[in-house]
Amino acid sequence: MRITFKPLTPFKVPVDLSPITPDNLEGMDIGEVKSLQIWVGSKRKRIDEIFLVELSEDGREEIAIVFMGDFSKARGIGSGMSRGSITVKGSGGLRVGEYMRGGTIVVEGDVDHWLGMAMHGGSIYVKGAAGSYVGAPPKGSSKGMRGGSIIIDGDAGECIGAYMRDGSIEVKGNVGLFPGLRMLGGTIVVYGNCMGRAAARMKDGRVIILGSVGSILPTFQIEEIRPSVRGVRERLEGPFYVFQGDLSEDGRGRLFVSKPSNPELAFFEKLL
């Protein structure tokens, strides 16, 4: 079953879409869906006051939700979902896929900050760019992403995978500072460049940078050079400098940095 939500007018204020998940919509008829109430700014509005809602049968039992339009002012699309799918044909807004446990989210546009916040499982695919704190726990908590996979075709911001415990994040574009900040486990792969300070204060886990890494923190030490490294699903061809750290936190994590993309790191070889 497929349910499509199209905004009647462009959003002017924040819209909280966290109640619109396959889990919550299960067993509802179209009338019940339309009468659900959500927060629009400080007001409560019925779904049908804001959206044109259409239901279509696609022969499948699981619920596929489609958001059509510009949702850059939305919050919490896919919040806590455990099954089914959500597709956003446009931008997705903040906290897309927060606390997700299963199912699939696809965003065709960009997303803002906190994509996959404290994710447990499931998969998220963003075709555009993402903001900062991908997969990170909400501010003040140290319980990061512990499962699931996030793939971003565009660029991402700072602190992606902060406090990560397990799961995987792949960014095809570039990322900002501090990917893998305070990481405890899991895998982060950046196909593009990193602005710097990769894997800062990591205790365990793997950060793989295929582009330029910016610079290596003084709290990491070179361990070896490897010809290739296991990515998320495939082997990634190097060679890679392998750094161990973050030593200031007694960390045993690994930072893999592409040798061809980082010629200025050649001096580390004499420390081997």
Binding site: P137, P138, K139, G140, S141, S142, K143
Partner: protein, 567 residues
């Protein structure tokens, strides 16, 4: 019409006036309990089959001020798990272990508590304490002013100038609108100003010619000289360390040796945290039996429990070095905030776990103290909120005191090896409703010297809690869950004669009163002392003397108690 109230047919527990489960009426007029009223004019609450007690009195709770706010800042994740939306009558708020100001007041009132004492306020920052207390609705409040590491107090005492020390202390209470003398790790927090600590009552405080023993005895003497309504309120040295029960006993005993028995001299606060035997953490034992034996044999000590609850909570105390030690073992968040010339503060989140050996000992010690001390008038129920657990856990603690079965249920799931080193499994005693009324109302009110709180006699403030629980029909030993439920949400809470809570919901949001002690010392004596002190004051402090006191117009609903000293 609103100001005349009749609570009819309640099952009343008013131990201070010898009422133990009597069915009787309580008449209220103009915020005060009166002999009788014109029933035709009164609003009547039918309390048939309901438990009626004076409003709860919390003698020690960290609810307001600099370190409470540091605690709130430190715990956004704790706020997310517990919040209260705005209603037509109430403001919104957050917080499981460190609630925001409005939420604090509503939650206390909801439980039937009507008077709460902020446990420790540094004088230099007491304006902050009062700004927050002003923002806490409904309950009456006061703040204990910390003095046990104060440079001027320590200097005067070590110079043998006890009278001047007393005048200074009296001025401090006036200037800070404090209620009493709080002592936190005497000498130790001053040592923490250099990163150190003290470990013995007779250890010299670095750079000061004084020992913790002398600080405690000095302030105890000052307390008597000033005729303060409460005794010195002491967080002893070596808190939170193995084998510290001996420090607790030596501290309690030193004032008796100095000043004799026969009257209350010292209140040992959150005694659980100072009740350990066994020389290391792995060989930790309960020291509660030793403390209880002593307290049973003397008449000069009172204590509050500091009960631990198995939950995620936040430790916060003026004992800076203690919090650093906690940080060293827990390796999580740690905030520290020294206060020049006076004291310190530290905040560290903690989780007390049933499976933990140490956690189980801690849990047992608090209960043992309350169950092994024979006279409930010497005990007050607290969790040292939020150190042992949030104050919202009080109904749970009450159920543990009243039901051996409730305790057994918990003991089935705790660390069994640890239980062997406590006396708790062999204790059958169960608190009665009268006992509970004592340790949550009458005893703290009496220990604090609050003449119009903690009882329901004529003249008392009309602060009353009514619970949907018939003590004649419910056996708390068996039906402890029912007791817990009823005590969590009062059927009615009355504050100053106004009905503020009905069925656990706020129906009226009124400001409470702010209580402090105004020691009547001739102004010229104070001025003479301050004239002498001013140059050193302004050399040590970074504020001018004139900008130090809390201006009275800052306090909401001031309700000072005038005291005549003996000097």
């Amino acid at each position: 019409m609103k100001d005349v109230l009749l609570i009819r047919n309640g099952v009343v527990y008013d131990p201070m006036n010898g009422v133990e489960g009597e069915v009787m009426d309580i008449a209220i007029k103009d915020g005060v309990i009166v002999e009788a009223i014109d029933e035709r004019k009164a609003k009547v609450i039918d309390a048939s089959g309901m438990l009626v007690m004076p409003g709860g009195v919390d003698i020690h709770s960290h609810i307001a001020g600099s370190k409470s706010n540091i605690g709130r800042l430190l715990r956004p994740e704790d706020h997310r798990r517990s919040y209260e939306p705005k209603t037509a009558l109430t403001c919104s708020g957050v917080g499981h272990s460190v609630p925001s100001t409005k939420t604090t007041g509503y939650r206390y009132a909801r439980m039937g508590y009507t008077t709460v004492f902020e446990a420790a306020s540094p004088p230099l920052k007491q304006k902050h304490t009062w700004e927050e207390l002003n923002d806490i609705p409904i309950i009456d409040k006061a703040a204990l002013t910390v003095m046990g590491n104060n440079w001027f107090i320590m200097d005067f005492i070590s110079q043998g100038r006890i009278e001047d020390a007393a005048i200074y202390a009296a001025w401090l209470l006036k200037a800070t609108k404090g209620y009493g003398i709080k002592i936190v790790n005497p000498g130790g927090v001053e040592a923490w100003g250099w990163g150190g600590n003290v470990y013995d009552l007779d250890e010299l405080v670095p750079y000061f010619s004084i020992t913790p023993r002398e600080i405690v005895e000095g302030l105890c003497k000052i307390n008597s000289m000033l005729n303060l309504p409460h005794t010195i309120h002491v967080h002893v040295n070596r808190l939170g360390m193995p084998n510290n029960c001996w420090t607790t006993l030596r501290t309690a005993h030193t004032v008796r040796k100095a000043f004799g028995g026969g009257k209350l001299l010292i209140h040992i606060t959150h005694c659980q945290f100072s009740g350990y035997a066994g020389s290391t953490w792995t060989t930790l034992r309960s020291g509660a039996e030793y403390i209880a034996k002593y307290v049973n044999s003397v008449d000069h000590v009172s204590l509050d429990m500091g009960q631990v609850v198995f939950t995620d909570t936040t430790t916060m105390t003026g004992d800076g070095p203690l919090e650093f030690r906690l940080f060293q073992s827990l390796a999580g968040k740690w905030a520290n905030a020294d206060v020049e010339v006076e004291t310190g503060a530290g905040v560290v989140p903690i989780r007390y776990s049933r499976r933990s050996y140490v956690g189980t000992i801690q849990w047992a010690v608090g209960l043992e103290l309350a169950l092994l001390v024979n006279d409930p008038w010497k005990i007050v129920l607290t969790t040292d909120h939020p150190n042992g657990g949030p104050f919202t856990a009080y109904p749970r603690v009450i159920s543990w005191l009243m039901s051996s079965k409730a305790r057994s249920k918990v003991m089935e799931r705790v660390n069994r090896r640890a239980l062997k080193y406590t006396a708790l499994p062999s204790i059958d005693r169960e608190y009665t409703f009268t006992d509970i009324a004592i340790v949550t109302r009458a005893s703290p009110a009496r220990l604090l010297g609050l003449k119009r709180k903690g009882h329901l006699g004529v003249g008392a403030d009309a602060d009353i809690a009514i619970y949907d629980l018939d003590p004649r029909k419910v056996d708390p030993s068996v039906d402890y869950r029912r007791v817990r439920r009823a005590l969590r949400r009062a059927a009615y809470t009355i504050k100053g004669g106004r009905i503020v809570i009905v069925k656990g919901e706020v129906v009226e949001d009124i400001p409470g009163r702010s209580i402090w002690v105004d020691v009547d010392i001739p102004e010229d004596e104070i001025e003479e002392l301050l004239r002498e002190v001013k140059p050193r004051f302004e050399e040590f402090y970074t504020v001018k003397l004139r900008n130090y006191p809390v201006p009275e117009d800052m306090i909401l609903n001031p309700s000072p108690i005038k005291i005549n000293p003996s000097i």
